[in-house]
């Protein structure tokens, strides 16, 4: 899941001239560092909802919850249907 989300973020938010900057990892701050502005966050939310067939309520789609891929993975996991139940 991490890789898929990282990939999307690179495609959706990074420009070609960011390539020389520090590589993006699961713990790179996204929003607080300005890589993703909170205004453009919506496409990431829609991507997650579509990719994992979940609905993330707006009140949970906070800049904090979206700040790193690690926390995004946690957020998605909370909304995935429980397997084996």
């Amino acid at each position: 899941m991490k890789e898929l989300i990282l990939d999307y973020i690179k495609r959706e938010y990074l420009d070609a001239d960011d390539a020389g900057d520090a590589p993006l990892t699961a713990d790179t701050p996204l929003i607080s560092s300005g890589i993703v502005d909170s205004f453009s966050m919506v496409s990431l939310k829609r991507f997650l909802e579509k990719q994992y067939a979940i609905r993330i309520p707006d009140e949970e789609a906070t800049p904090q919850a979206f700040d790193t891929v690690t926390s995004i993975v946690g957020l998605v996991a909370r909304h995935l249907p429980k397997t084996g139940a």
């Binding site: 938010y13 420009d15 560092s33 300005g34 502005d37 205004f39 453009s40 919506v42 496409s43 829609r46």
Partner: protein, 415 residues
């Protein structure tokens, strides 16, 4: 009244934090009319100093132009000072309608509605025409007032990478299921001075059945062969569905803005746009002077031609001196310093050398993208700009940044 000490202390701490970061914005008092050369008191209480102004939006030098001032005087005598009413109650004079018609003709659109500012125009237009079945697709660097307008609107929103047409196309494809798609862009981007590729945007909008929204605040009056704006420059006049612009920059610089474009969109704004319905009418002297400005600009291109020549001279001069500037073709020329404190210090040193500029940094621009934004005016002349260049070279040398590229400056000063 309850202003609890804890709340006061919290806000004081926030202010202190802003100062500590070196990004506190304080104002400088100008003791003269807006012009290429102004008299400034800075810091407060300091002796007055005459400096070259390189940070006004006074692109055409019309803010204090005698014909513009005279038109305001005349209207003040003949139509009074203020309207004390919103437009639809008893706030519409003949001058308002005349100005709206002049703007429509100048911009090459179907109709125009005035607002108290372009911020108001941008804040009101989307909500007035779009609903949940629609989508707004905006460039990621659009002006803050557009961001506000988008936030106030119930339509879905999405963004594309700055001026990235492949990414825009991807988004247009993704949103084919919506009733209305609106592509939203600035004409000239105010912080970078670059231009949206409007011909390509219009072509994509036609291909994917989308409307085009253009904020031409930093272009109206001087971009394009006759100064109509970025749509003229790219040969797509008449193809912009929603065009917003300001009277607060090149067009006399007082205040006021408008939504110009398709008739039905303008009509809906008159019925529904909240900043139009619930805020006072533009004062008569301002409306009358804006008409005078449009008359000047329709009669001659001398001012935009002078501005273009000044901007070309200035860009080349800064580049030759070894500064990192953002490439472009507008009178906005950002000198990149990347580090916020460095931008502040360079601005302060330039003031000592008689050049008035301001440092911009997060959150006005992205973190690590601090800069000094220089803006040219038709009222500058080459000797004035030559002296300003000497000042830039002196200050650049003092900070050891001449000839350094982005990487070099960041290595030296950090982000």
């Amino acid at each position: 009244m309850a202003y609890p000490a804890a709340v006061r202390d919290a806000w004081r701490a926030e202010l202190a934090g802003i100062r500590e970061k070196g990004i506190f914005k304080d104002e400088r008092f100008i003791h003269s009319p807006q012009a290429a050369r102004i008299t400034v008191e800075y810091p407060a209480g300091a002796p007055l100093k005459e400096v070259v102004n390189l940070c006004a939006n006074n692109y055409l030098g019309l803010s204090s132009h005698p014909a513009v001032v005279a038109a305001a005087h005349r209207a003040l005598d003949e139509r009074g000072y203020g309207m004390s009413s919103v437009r639809f109650i008893c706030g519409t004079q003949d001058v308002h309608r005349a100005l709206e018609e002049k703007l429509t003709a100048f911009l090459g659109t179907e109709d125009t509605i005035l607002f108290a500012s372009c911020l108001d125009a941008n804040a009101g237009v989307f909500e007035a025409i779009l609903g949940p079945e629609d989508v707004m697709i905006s460039d990621r660097l659009v002006h803050a007032s557009i961001v506000d307008g988008i936030r106030l609107c119930k339509a879905m929103h999405d963004t594309y990478k700055h001026c990235d047409m492949a990414h825009l196309e991807e988004k247009l494809r993704e949103h084919q299921d919506k009733r209305v798609r609106v592509v939203i862009t600035d004409g000239v981007f105010s912080m970078d001075g670059d231009m949206a590729p409007l011909d390509e945007i219009v072509a994509l909008a036609e291909q994917y059945r989308a409307l085009v929204f253009l904020d031409d605040s930093h272009a109206t009056g001087f971009i394009g062969r006759t100064g109509r704006g970025v749509h003229e420059r790219f040969g797509v006049m008449g193809k912009i569905d929603i065009l917003t612009t300001t009277l607060g920059k090149a067009l006399g610089g007082a205040s006021g803005g408008c939504v110009s474009g398709r008739k039905e969109i303008v009509d809906l704004c008159r019925q529904r746009a909240r900043p139009y319905l619930f805020s006072n009418a533009v004062p008569p002297p301002i409306a009358a002077s804006a008409i005078a400005v449009l008359d000047i600009l329709s009669a001659t291109t001398a001012r935009r031609d002078a501005l273009e020549a000044n901007a070309a001279f200035w860009r080349a001069g800064l580049k030759d001196a070894g500064f990192v500037i953002k490439d472009g073709d507008s009178p906005i020329v950002p000198v990149m310093l990347f580090n916020a404190k460095l931008a502040q210090e360079v601005a302060r040193d330039l003031y000592d050398e008689g050049v008035y500029v301001v440092g911009f940094f997060f959150p006005v621009v992205a973190a690590g993208q601090a800069r000094i934004r220089t803006q040219l005016s038709a009222d500058h002349d080459i000797p004035m700009l030559e002296r300003a260049l000497e000042a830039f070279k002196k200050v650049g040398a003092k900070h050891g940044i001449l000839g350094l590229d982005k990487k070099g400056i960041i290595e030296k000063y950090g982000l």
